[in-house]
Symmetry: C2
Subunit: 88 residues, 2 copies
Amino acid sequence: MFVILVYDAGEKRVQKFHKACKKFLHWVQLSVFEGELSKAQLEQLKFELKALMKPEEDSVIIYTFRTRHYFSREVMGKKKGDPDSIFV
Amino acid sequence: MFVILVYDAGEKRVQKFHKACKKFLHWVQLSVFEGELSKAQLEQLKFELKALMKPEEDSVIIYTFRTRHYFSREVMGKKKGDPDSIFV
């Protein structure tokens, strides 16, 4: 499935969130990641984020799609994230 | 159409971005907005963001969908954004 993940984490945890997400997804903007994941990979990522997060302070929103064909995507301004990402 | 918009703007422009996006969309996380827009409304929002942004520093990614039925959405941790949003 295709995944878009956005997070908002406390300053001390931002780098850890980034590192966990980068293991599974492509970095496309400050705290935005995208990519194709299996159900098992998504569960693993959620497990890792749950272990890192302070649920009373941090927030993660995960959008999942069967395929990439259901949405279009437009970037305005600077392209941030992985320079080698196929999505950027 | 349904829109998910994420931005990363310089500190001086963050509040202006927020204000422009809130005119059209529901605030769901730090720099993440969602909502139903007509094509004309989306064009107006893009026009306003273009006028605010420094394209060499700021970034906006806009995902558009024909309907909300093509994705599922999960929130982990704290629900941020508008307390009255139907999406939060």
